[in-house]
Amino acid sequence: MTAATMDITATDGVTLRVHESGPSDAPTVICVHGYPDDHTVWDGVVAELALRYHVVSYDVRGAGESGKPRGRQAYRLDQLVRDLAAVIDSVSPDRAVHLLAHDWGSVQAWHAVTGRRLRGRIASYTSISGPCLNHADYWFRARLRRPTPRALRELVTQVRSSWYIGFFQLPLLPELAWRTGLTQWVLARMEGSRSPAVADAVHGVQLYRANMFLQRAAPQPRTTEVPVQVLAPQRDQTVSTSLQTDIRRWVPNLAVRELPAGHWLPRTHPQTVARCASELIEHAEGGPEARSLHRARRIGPHRKRFEDHLVVITGAGSGIGRATALEFAENGAEVIATDVNQQAAERTAQLASTLGPRASAYPLDVSDRGAMEKFAVVLRENHGVPDIVINNAGIGVAGPFFDTTVADWERVIDVNLWGVIHGCQVLGGLLVDGGAGGTIVNIASAAAYLPTRSLPAYATTKAAVLALSQCLRAELVPAGVGVVAICPGFVLTNITNTTRFVGRDAEREQAARQRATALYRRRNFTARQAAREILRAVERNAPVAPITVEAKVGLLASRLTPALLRKLARSDINPR
């Protein structure tokens, strides 16, 4: 690996400071920063990408160590593209390069990708938070021509965040705002921003003056066949996602990913940017297409609800876990079925494979932290970052509190609570680190809010799972990861046959199991029905999803008439 700095002279004599790192024989990635930044906005991304690629970043004219010409003509897009071309010709004279650009860097790169000057020299392009001005022009025109409520809403959103563009057209005032620190004060309130050098900021204002509001006559649409990926931050306060992504008619080979982040994605989420960019680069270089990239390209006419999603389920060998695995598979997801019973998990994977993409199975004891961590490594290595993690594994313990031994308590807490904690930390951690959002689903129970003397230990663990889910949900909002707590109620599964009924001899325990099973059979709410509800809860990111009618009524009653529930709790639903 090398790290080198050099100067390149642009066609009009301006000097550009260029930084190179990574293996020089690898594909070249050129990073173009925006305004008001310099090449250091890419530092985190470059550190990741340079492990595999020849990475080049440079200070755009007017910023960092590059020349700062005066006069707005020097900042026209055509000149900025000539600068980019000079860099490309210098660092990769024979081989097409991959572009990665942010903000104004993206605007320039779009101009290059859709123009003639660099045709055949660009192998792929990942754009973050910067539209093609030509496309933006069409975007505004289309919405003004057909002002539907939705179009108006999108317009208002965009104009509300673009007001500063108008401000930058004014003489002197923008410069004054920078020099007095007013703009820095506004900027400081934005996610991931950093105050620029005042000189850079002042010169860069020319970008707006030189390039905005010029092409007022209907322009020719600018198109490209180059594979393009748009990373659209959902909390971007300057460029709305619609403006960035509603461009498929000009960019047929387009992938779009909306990411839970703010405008300065390269600075706040360098690993996510590096991963997304690498996926496109690998594919453009002839490698296989990653699942998440395929999903981002939204190819195919009849896409299933969870196509190109990776779903991991614990306790998938039976009951609600298996049914949920199958339902996800049927709706297009790649399923990873795990269970403490390996054969049962394999069976689930086998069935899932008849319904959808090829599924896999792994043996996994959720109460074993070490096993969980090992599994997470294997999962990431073999299948990638999951989109949905379902902490389903659980066991039943019923019977009076004083008959429940310490061993009984430990067993049920290990599986039902520690299993979910490990699942959220280890598997959920993959989602958070992945930076692309996702959903953690924890299977709690209606027993979490319906007290009963019959299930003290079980209800305690499930109440804890419900509380954990709601706390974690609040914590993971910025990461874009939803946490869904499922409260099923009486669902006909094998749990009634495996529940430990404490304080009874084997024969009476067996009788209690048969009675419970008969009760659930009469209720006859199938695991598949529950699974369907779980898929719906994931789609609407429900905070708490009671499944059966009794679970729904119970949730309501727990809020309206808790005293009644406390009375009902006194009757034993498993009489001896």
Partner: protein
Amino acid sequence: MASKALTEPDDLAKVREVQQLAYTAAESVAQTLEPGVTEKQAAQRIRDYLLDRGVQDWFHTPFAWFGDRTAFRNFWTPLKFFPTHRRLEEGVPFILDCAPVRDGYMADIGYAGCLGTNPIYDQLIADLAEYRELIVTRVREGAPLLQIYRDVDALIARHGYDNRHRVYPGRVIAHQVGTVQSRLPKFIVAGFGVRALRTLVGDLIVERMHHRSPLWADGEISNHPATPGLWAVEPHIAFRGVGVKFEEILVVPPGGDAYWLDDDLPHVRRWQQAAAAS
């Protein structure tokens, strides 16, 4: 049957002949099925095939189920068993089921097939072999029929399938068969031959007096080892919109080892070929 347990070699040979005939009918008709054919047409073809070969009466007339009807989805009335105008398509499973009577001897068979390929069907039909083995083993061990029913249910749960024989009248996984000796006219009511039905009803009464039943289901009345005679066993399993079954005769000799009357049947041959191939 209760009145006359059919376990004499001559009788068994006759029943085997009828069963072979019925399976051959189903298999040959299955080969003629093309996209667009309806259940009614398929059932009629089986009927014609068998009537041409000396069948005089029916325990029940031929049934044909296509698509998710093989899994008995939404069979909320017994009328749903009867063939409909549902058309067969590529990749769609089907079941042909018939119970012909010839010279007083009757068979009752079920044949599951698929037009083209369907991964769910392939998986189901491969797994069906385990049920055939489980049932004969447990009957041989003298297990109560109720317990065997539950064992089958447990296997279904382990496989991740649904029990669909519980949709049959009486939730039966099997019923006894014997000779048809009634002197009633040959007459079909709701798909069932009245003469065969009369024989069955007679058996129901006689067996009930012994606290047994010629019907094998999951009620307490089935809590006894298999009574000697012939049992038409029909485990029917399903996954999503695909159901498969076989139905063939299990011989339970008085006090002896139970065995399947015939191993030269399409589904058994299929499993043998698959085993040989792997």
